[in-house]
C-alpha cells in the first residue's frame, strides 16, 4: 500500500499531529496515493505553498491542518495570507472562538472536540465544519485535486482516541479515494 506523505514542520504541534495521522492511516484499509497531509502547520514558506498548490492542480488532495492556534497575530496574518494566495481560501480577520466543539457536516455529520480554534474562515463557500456557528474547516477544489483545510486540529483528537475524531479522519481518507464523493458539497447544516 503506498504511504501518503505527511509533511510535518519541526515543532511539537506538527510532529505530534503527524504521528497521530500516521497511526490513523495505518488502520485504514486503503489510502489514496495522491494524498498529502500537512499537520499543525504554522511555518509554511511561499515555496512550499506553491509546490503544494501545483500538486493539487495535478490531482493530489492536501489535508492542510492549521497549527496557528497558539501563534501570534502577526504569524496568523502571514500564514493565512499565504494560504489565501496559494489555495484560494478566505479567512476572517479575527480568529478565535471559545466553543469546546466543532460540528462537521462533511464528509460525515459529527461533533468533535475543538482544539483552541485560532483560524476562522470568512465565507461559507465549501465550508464543512463550524464552531460556535463560525466556519472553521472547508474543502476547495483546485484543478484535478483540492485542499481540505482544518482550522481546528484533528490530530490531537486522533491521538486521544476520540471516537468521533477518528470517524471524521477515516471518512476524510475514504472520501478522497472516491472521486464522486470528493466532489459532493456538504449538505446545509441545520442550526
Amino acid at each position: 500500500m503506498p504511504t501518503p506523505r505527511i509533511l510535518t514542520e519541526p515543532h511539537l504541534l506538527s510532529e505530534e499531529s503527524g504521528v497521530h495521522f500516521q497511526q490513523m492511516l495505518s488502520g485504514c484499509q486503503a489510502v489514496p496515493h495522491d494524498l498529502l497531509i500537512v499537520p499543525g502547520i504554522r511555518e509554511m514558506s511561499a515555496e512550499r505553498a506553491e509546490r503544494l498548490r501545483s500538486r493539487t492542480v495535478g490531482g493530489a488532495w492536501v489535508i492542510l491542518e492549521s497549527g496557528l492556534c497558539f501563534a501570534g497575530e502577526g504569524k496568523r496574518r502571514e500564514q493565512t495570507g499565504l494560504w489565501e494566495k496559494a489555495f484560494g481560501l478566505r479567512f476572517a480577520r479575527s480568529g478565535r472562538v471559545s466553543e469546546l466543539f466543532v460540528e462537521y457536516a462533511w464528509p460525515v455529520r459529527q461533533i468533535v472536540r475543538g482544539f483552541d480554534v485560532g483560524t476562522l474562515l470568512e465565507s461559507a463557500e465549501g465550508v464543512i465544519a463550524w464552531s460556535g456557528g463560525k466556519p472553521v474547516c472547508c474543502r476547495r477544489r483546485l484543478g484535478r485535486g483540492g485542499v481540505i483545510f482544518l482550522g481546528s486540529m484533528l490530530g490531537p483528537g486522533l491521538g486521544a482516541g476520540e471516537r468521533e475524531a477518528e470517524l471524521v479522519g477515516r471518512e476524510l481518507i475514504e472520501v478522497i479515494r472516491d472521486p464522486v464523493r470528493s466532489l459532493t458539497l456538504p449538505a446545509p447544516i441545520r442550526r
Binding site: 466543539f101 459529527q110 461533533i111 471516537r163
Partner: protein, 279 residues
C-alpha cells in the same frame, strides 16, 4: 430522547397514583422507580403488587425509565461481610426481575463505597468480581446494569478513564455506566465523561451542582437544573456528539419549602429546554 424523574420526588403524603398523575401533568414520559425508597416499592413488595404498580403506570400513560435502588449504601456488593454482599446481590437481582415486569431494560447500581477501613483495592476487586457474575444475570434478563458514578460519595472510580478500565475488566456488554452529570463537580467535567463513555451510557441522571460550595455542614452542593455550575451547553453538545438518544432522568433533591409539586413542573420545563438544545 425521553424524560423522567424519580418517584422519590413525589411530595410527602402523596400516593403512588397521585405522584404519577403529577408526572403526567408535567409532561414526563416516564418514572424512575427507587427500590427500597418509598413504601409502594420495597424488597417485600410481591410480584403481584409489582404488576399492579406496572398497571397503574401504564394506565396514566407513563413508562418506567429504569429501576434504581436506595439500598446500595447499606448493602453494597463490596461489603466484607458475605451476608451483606449476598443481600446486595439479592436486591440487584430483584431490580433485574422487576425491570422485566415493568418492561424496562435498565437498572441503576452504586457499586463500591471506599471507606477508611475498607480500602480501594479491595473494593475494586470485589466489585469487579461480583459484577462479572451479575452481568450474566443481566444478559439472561436482557436488562442493562448501569453503574452510577457517585464519585465524591463513593470515593471510588474517580476518573472517567479509570471507570472505563473498570468496565473493560467487568467485560460485559450488559454492564455500563448510569452517568450522573451532577456528580462530577469535584473530579472533572461532565461533558468529558459523556464523550469518553459514549455507547456505554445506559441512562443519564440530570441535576445541577454548585462547584464551589463546601461539602461540610447542612448546605447541599446540588441544585435545580440550570441553577448551578454545570456547563449545560457543553453537556448537550457532548450528548449529540456520542449520539445519546435515551432517557434523561432528573434526580432532584426535594428543596421546595412551599408548593413542593412545583419542583416537578419546573424540572420538566428545564429538561425540555435541555433536550431541545435551547441553551
Amino acid at each position: 430522547m425521553k424524560k423522567a424523574i424519580g418517584d422519590n420526588i413525589f411530595p410527602p403524603n402523596t400516593t403512588f397514583e397521585q405522584g404519577l398523575t403529577l408526572l403526567k401533568q408535567g409532561g414526563y414520559d416516564g418514572v424512575e422507580l427507587w427500590l427500597g425508597e418509598r413504601p409502594w416499592f420495597q424488597m417485600k413488595t410481591s410480584d403481584g403488587e409489582v404488576r399492579e404498580l406496572a398497571r397503574k403506570i401504564r394506565d396514566v400513560g407513563l413508562q418506567v425509565s429504569d429501576i434504581a435502588n436506595a439500598l446500595d449504601w447499606e448493602e453494597n456488593i463490596c461489603a466484607r461481610d458475605p451476608a451483606v454482599r449476598e443481600a446486595a446481590m439479592r436486591h440487584i437481582r430483584r431490580q433485574l426481575e422487576t425491570a422485566q415486569m415493568f418492561s424496562c431494560d435498565a437498572i441503576l447500581v452504586v457499586a463500591g463505597v471506599v471507606k477508611e477501613d475498607l480500602p480501594y483495592n479491595e473494593v475494586y476487586n470485589r466489585c469487579r468480581d461480583v459484577l462479572q457474575k451479575l452481568g450474566e444475570d443481566a444478559a439472561r434478563a436482557r436488562v442493562k446494569i448501569g453503574i452510577e458514578n457517585c464519585c465524591a460519595e463513593q470515593k471510588f472510580l474517580l476518573s472517567p478513564r479509570e471507570f472505563s478500565t473498570f468496565l473493560d475488566e467487568v467485560n460485559s456488554e450488559w454492564v455500563g455506566i448510569h452517568l450522573d452529570v451532577g456528580n462530577i463537580h469535584e473530579t472533572g467535567f461532565a461533558e468529558q465523561w459523556i464523550e469518553i463513555h459514549g455507547p456505554r451510557i445506559t441512562r443519564m441522571h440530570m441535576k445541577d451542582v454548585h462547584k464551589h460550595r463546601g461539602r461540610c455542614g447542612e448546605e447541599s452542593v446540588y441544585t435545580n437544573i440550570f441553577l448551578g455550575d454545570n456547563n449545560w451547553r457543553a453537556i448537550r453538545q457532548a450528548m449529540t456528539k456520542v449520539n445519546y438518544d435515551g432517557w434523561v432522568i432528573a434526580e432532584m433533591e426535594a428543596r421546595y419549602k412551599y408548593a413542593a409539586d412545583q419542583q416537578i413542573f419546573d424540572t420538566a420545563a428545564a429538561l425540555d429546554r435541555l433536550m431541545a438544545g435551547r441553551l
